[in-house]
């Protein structure tokens, strides 16, 4: 029983990063009705870009690495928007999907090229802190991962519901034509969505690196699949859904790992998705039927 609780809590703390990736997919989907398949790769790429600061200041502390991953995420997000969406007509459903796939491969290869395919160590904070209660432990670094992710979510929700940019973003996601008629520059809102999701992705990637202790380009494909599963289970376009689904997937994944081993773990996560697709295809929070 203790093992079970431990697995659930560790998994849920780590699942916060899945929730962030899910939010990124969901936001872009909500605003543009497009899937940005390069998002998880871009997030890992942003986490790598955080390591660049160690090249300049070899003694840079972990928070500086996280911060530069955050900034790097925003820059990469904007580049992804420019290269994969800006010049492609929105009416074409296949071309932007394919261009983000190309971007995914490109980011993967840039990482492999820059690091010679070797996994890179990633700094963590509070990794020596252990909070104990009986036989039950909470790892300090995982708590930080969870805390930072929650901060990120709060910041994002504040941005969406308390600022003009957020209002414009929600307007475009509901009715792009009406929003444009009200004088909102749709292209700019779309670009900002990519920058914001990029920033979030940067944090998610850095937190993943900090929790695992290392980064490797092999992480990108499974993270893409997990992020998409979280998005679907939460309900496409729903941010609270993505948060809950992220924690759910993280927790369950760790439980599956405890009982069935690491090689079979992901198989059960896929099954979980199919259970949702069959019994609740709209996800936990079915988005109100919007445009189209």
């Amino acid at each position: 029983m203790l093992d079970f609780l431990q697995a659930v809590s560790d998994g849920m703390l780590f699942g916060a990063t899945y929730a962030l990736i899910g939010i990124g997919f969901t936001l872009v989907f909500g605003v543009m009705h497009k899937l940005n398949l390069s998002y998880a790769a871009a997030s890992i790429g942003a986490a790598y870009s955080g390591l660049l600061i160690l090249k300049v200041f070899a003694a840079a502390p972990a928070w500086a690495v996280f911060l530069s991953a955050f900034v790097g995420g925003g820059v990469i997000g904007y580049l992804v928007y420019l290269t994969c969406f800006h010049f492609i007509p929105l009416s074409n459903p296949l071309a932007p999907l394919m261009s983000t796939v190309g971007m995914f491969l490109l980011i993967d290869e840039v990482i492999v090229h820059a690091t010679n395919g070797m996994p890179q160590n990633y700094p963590a904070m509070f990794d020596d802190v252990m909070i104990r209660a009986g036989g039950y432990t909470l790892r300090g670094d995982l708590l930080l991962v969870f805390g930072l992710s929650v901060l990120c979510m709060i910041g994002l929700l504040a941005l969406l519901y308390r600022t003009k940019l957020g209002l414009a973003t929600r307007a475009v996601s509901q009715q792009p034509v009406a929003a444009q008629l009200c004088g909102i520059r749709v292209a700019r809102v779309n670009a900002m969505t990519f920058v914001v999701t990029g920033l979030v992705g940067g944090i998610a990637g850095a937190m993943m690196g900090a929790a695992v202790g290392a980064l490797s380009p092999v992480l990108t494909a499974p993270l893409t699949v997990k992020g998409l599963i979280v998005t679907v289970i939460g309900g496409l376009g729903s941010i609270p859904g993505a948060i809950i689904a992220g924690l759910l997937v993280g927790g369950l994944e760790n439980v599956f790992q405890l009982y069935r081993g690491v090689t079979e773990r992901d198989l059960y996560v896929m099954l979980l998705l199919f259970v949702f697709l069959v019994f609740r295809p709209g996800g936990i929070f079915t988005a109100k039927s919007g445009r189209d």
Binding site: A95, S99, L106, V112, L277
Partner: protein, 291 residues
């Protein structure tokens, strides 16, 4: 000459993979599960020829049937969800199948040799062609007979009523439904045919490489499957063939001298191609298909 025969084999198998996604894409659905059907076909055909001692042609038939049966079974629940959700569902299904093969052990002792798939090590010694003394040229001809056959069938579909129905669903679901087309039947039938083609391609793939493992059927392969028809354009089957030749012969073999820069160029070229020719390199410009 052997090299070019080998290249032609690769192009043939990848054309089958691309065509399996082509017919599904005609209905406007994006499927990321083609690598899974490809893998199922590969394992089925390999196990039938190696473990059960079948002749290769019925084994390929069986892999096509298995591929189409799985595709049909996946199609029903997956097509309840629309458009982008299908991408996710099929992506997860594909990863699920890959993980299944990653954990799949089934070995039979044959003499002093143990044959059959072993989890992460994969399935070795699918030696039907060398055991029966087929030369590389003969194998290539064998593969291309199937490729030409599949292309001919799809070409004929395009000219028949069925092809128009597929494209009608792809262009505008609502309009297609309002003239009495059963959307689910059309989509599931396209998935089923696509699954059969992918299964066939997988069966051939298993036999010319002689060694298959779970990583042969990962997300990257699924991506390639939809990349060929999208990059080539959906106007006809030759777009897919041209894209396969462009990617496999030019980008992968032709640019081999560039070393690992080639891989960087590959992603960048896809992005560039989609920016310049959103309807595919050889596709004709249509009006906006989705409002």
């Amino acid at each position: 000459m052997e090299f070019y025969y080998g290249l032609a084999q690769i192009v043939g198998v990848h054309t089958l993979l691309g065509l399996s996604a082509y017919i599904v894409l005609l209905t406007g659905q994006v499927t990321m599960a083609q690598a899974a059907f490809f893998g199922i076909g590969a394992y089925v055909a390999g196990m039938l020829t190696v473990l059960a001692g079948w002749h290769i042609v019925p084994a390929l038939g069986a892999s096509a049937v298995m591929g189409s049966a799985t595709a049909c079974a996946v199609g029903f629940p997956a097509l309840r969800v629309k458009g982008l959700m299908l991408v996710v569902a099929t992506l997860a299904f594909g990863e699920g199948v890959r993980l299944f093969f990653f954990n799949f052990d089934y070995q039979i002792a044959r003499g002093d040799l143990k044959l059959g798939p072993v989890g992460s090590e994969g399935f070795r010694q699918i030696r039907y062609f060398p055991e029966h003394g087929w030369t590389t040229g003969e194998v290539m001809l064998f593969i291309w007979v199937f490729v030409v056959l599949v292309m001919a069938v799809l070409w004929w579909f395009d000219r028949s009523r069925y092809g128009s129905v597929l494209r009608a669903v792809g262009e505008d679901e609502l309009a297609a439904q309002s003239v009495g087309i059963n959307l689910t039947a059309v989509k599931v039938s396209a998935m089923t045919i696509g699954g059969a083609i992918a299964g066939l391609g997988g069966g051939i793939f298993a036999h010319y490489t002689t060694h298959i493992e779970h990583s042969n059927f990962n997300v990257l392969v699924a991506t390639f499957a939809i990349a060929y028809p999208i990059v080539g354009g959906l106007s006809n089957v030759f777009g897919t063939l041209a894209a396969v030749i462009f990617v496999q012969a030019f980008l992968i073999e032709g640019l081999r001298d560039l070393g690992d820069w080639r891989n960087l160029l590959f992603g960048a070229l896809i992005v560039l191609a989609m920016n310049l020719r959103p309807h595919g390199l050889f596709g004709k410009r249509r009006g906006s298909s989705h409002a």
